[in-house]
């Protein structure tokens, strides 16, 4: 983990998304799919926190050796600023952060799921899995065609890519969850990886739990530091002995978690069932709404 001043090589708008390539050999060297960067905001702003972005490409050889790419969708003040940063300016970067996706030893058929910009890190993962000789299929989705991030990359990397949009503007109409069972069956998925919104991840986790397919999900939680110090980025994780939950740091113990370990009820309501309520602690002042 390093903090560097990284030169921006290119900064490109691509529809709804924006991609940035930065020179960061120390980080590119070691970065793994699922890991992320913390990008510093400029001084004198009213917003202080670094913004976390998943690494979408880390080039270790060839003309782009030593560069990293990340991508982001429409957002708030921080990403608005980031969009104005031009080539040859510098970013304040900490990375690579967190634990990436684990690659299975004995499972060779992988289904990768990416929603919106989160497809980016799935392309990175696809590349790594392919290099290890795994079979990779993908589902990528989003509300509209605009929200689908670089489907062409998926086509290049995966045996099959299923695109779904809620409005049907690209691929088939529907959600990732709608096509999940069919695609898992069709591809014979032995392991599933997913990144995207938390409700989608929960739905994937529930399906994988029923089907006993191991799944790894990349969680996005608001975070203050990103490097393990503040315990603000926690995810509720079931204790192994079943005695309750622990709050683990998604920045350091995650952001990738084994989906069966997450105490989903304490994180996000279920789309399919009525929530059994939150099992986690209450406010510091008993001021709950």
């Amino acid at each position: 983990m390093r903090r560097i001043r990284a030169e921006v090589l290119s900064s490109r708008n691509q529809g709804q998304h924006h991609t940035m390539t930065i020179v960061a050999p120390e980080i590119a060297e070691r970065a793994r799919p699922g890991q992320f960067l913390q990008v510093g905001m400029p001084a004198d702003r009213s917003f202080l926190l670094r913004r976390p972005f998943a690494i979408y490409k880390a080039s270790r050889q060839g003309g782009w050796a030593g560069t990293l790419e990340f991508a982001f969708g429409p957002g708030g003040a921080g990403t608005d600023w980031l969009r104005t940063v031009r080539a040859h300016q510098f970013l304040d970067i900490i990375g690579p952060l967190g634990r990436g996706f684990a690659t299975p030893k004995n499972r060779n058929v992988c289904l990768l799921i990416g929603e919106g910009y989160a497809s980016g890190q799935m392309y990175f993962l696809a590349e790594e899995l392919r290099a290890k000789g795994k079979k990779v299929d993908m589902i990528i989705g989003g509300p509209t065609q605009e929200a689908i991030f670089k489907p062409i990359e998926g086509k290049r990397l995966a045996a099959s890519v299923t695109v779904v949009t809620e409005d049907g503007s690209l691929g088939s109409r529907g959600t990732i969850v709608d096509v999940l069972a069919a695609m898992a069956g069709q591809t014979g998925a032995e392991v599933i990886y997913a990144a995207g919104t938390t409700p989608m991840l929960r739905a994937v986790a529930e399906y994988c739990g029923q089907q006993r397919i191991p799944a790894q999900v990349a969680i996005e939680e608001a975070m203050a530091c990103g490097w393990g110090q503040c315990f603000t980025c926690v995810v509720p994780v079931l204790r192994k002995d079943g005695s309750g939950i622990d709050h683990q740091r998604s920045c350091t113990d995650g952001p990738v978690f084994n989906s069966s370990r997450i105490a989903w009820d304490a994180l996000v309501p279920s789309a399919t069932a009525t929530s059994t309520g939150s099992g986690s602690g209450s406010g510091s002042e008993g001021a709950g709404a």
Partner: protein, 315 residues
């Protein structure tokens, strides 16, 4: 003249007046390559309670203008795990540790305080009074001088280590509460913890924190903290005060030292910028050199009157 950075908090020598604030440097094994921990004057540990606390539901952090709104619900591993696993890692850095004592009852504070005071590496206790009392409907100990003094006095009497009382900024009369703590046996004061706040996201119409309300830290609260330090240090000039709340750069650290702080702690700024403590330390040295001041403690006496009195302030 070459200024020195050493400070002495009434018998506690520190190599620098810049400390890490409680709860903001919790996992030394994860700072490798980011923070040169040994340049810190001291580290305040996270507040420890007798039993492990799982803490509050997420989200635990949100931005506010020039500040953070956060609530961890006092998540900590509990006294036993802290002593066995976390404190030794802190101690190994050789940086003096201010062990932060939490609790929901007088007995808990006492039990945790006495145990932490025995542990190697701990040079002082910092009693975090921003804890809800289990016996008083969740009122914070820091909110009343008698409640605060009772806890601080009991912990101080139970150990020979110096005890710092850490107060909150959301009180009508901080000098009164500080005075009660000193009277009860506090060696010093840490001023201030975060101040209570809340945020609501208009888009989702829901509170920004899982805990609904939380604590504001960062530059936004700096004027509140500087005032607390100023008022208390004027009232008790011989009592060591650690200033905390929005220290973000050398200039804000100097602001606290001029207000009367003997040292400062850095929390939020370090979370955002791991180099902040070191940059602040360098900047203090530069300031002392430019102003021909021998060491940080001299700044306590260096505050000039407001304009227009006496020697003027517009320089």
């Amino acid at each position: 003249m070459k200024p020195v950075l050493d400070v002495d908090l009434g018998g506690i020598p520190l190599r620098s007046p810049v400390m890490a604030a409680s709860g903001c440097l919790r996992s030394i094994r994860d700072v490798h390559g980011l923070v040169d921990v040994r340049r810190l004057g001291a580290i305040a540990s996270v507040s420890v309670t007798a039993q492990p606390v799982a803490g509050s539901a997420g989200p635990r952090v949100a931005e506010t203008p020039s500040g953070l709104l956060h609530d961890t619900g006092h998540q900590n591993p509990g006294l036993d795990v802290f002593l066995a696993q976390e404190l030794p890692v802190l101690a190994r850095t050789r940086v003096p540790v201010f062990a932060s004592v939490g609790g929901a009852t007088l007995e808990e504070y006492l039990r945790v305080g006495t145990a932490l005071a025995e542990a190697p590496g701990v040079v002082a206790l910092e009693v975090n009074l921003a804890c809800p009392s289990a016996e008083r409907g969740g009122a914070l100990f820091a909110h009343r001088s008698d409640h605060a003094a009772e806890v601080v006095g009991a912990v101080a009497r139970s150990t020979r280590l110096p005890v710092f009382a850490k107060l909150t900024g959301d009180v009508a009369d901080i000098v009164d509460i500080a005075g009660a703590c000193i009277q009860a046996g506090a060696h010093g004061l840490t001023l201030i913890g975060s101040i209570p706040g809340m945020g609501i996201a208009p888009a989702s119409r829901s509170p920004r924190l899982g805990a609904v309300t939380g604590w504001v830290s960062g530059p936004a609260i700096r004027p509140v903290a500087v005032r607390a330090v100023f008022l208390v240090s004027r009232a008790f000039p011989d009592v060591p005060i650690i200033g905390v709340g929005g220290v973000a750069d050398a200039s804000s650290a100097v602001e606290f030292l001029l207000a009367g702080a003997w040292a400062v702690q850095v929390g939020t700024a370090m979370l955002v910028d791991p180099d902040a403590p070191l940059e602040i330390t360098k900047g203090i040295i530069g300031y002392l050199r430019r102003h021909k001041i021998a060491d940080p403690s001299q700044l306590r006496l260096a505050l000039r009157p407001a304009r227009p009195a006496a020697d003027g302030g517009s320089s």
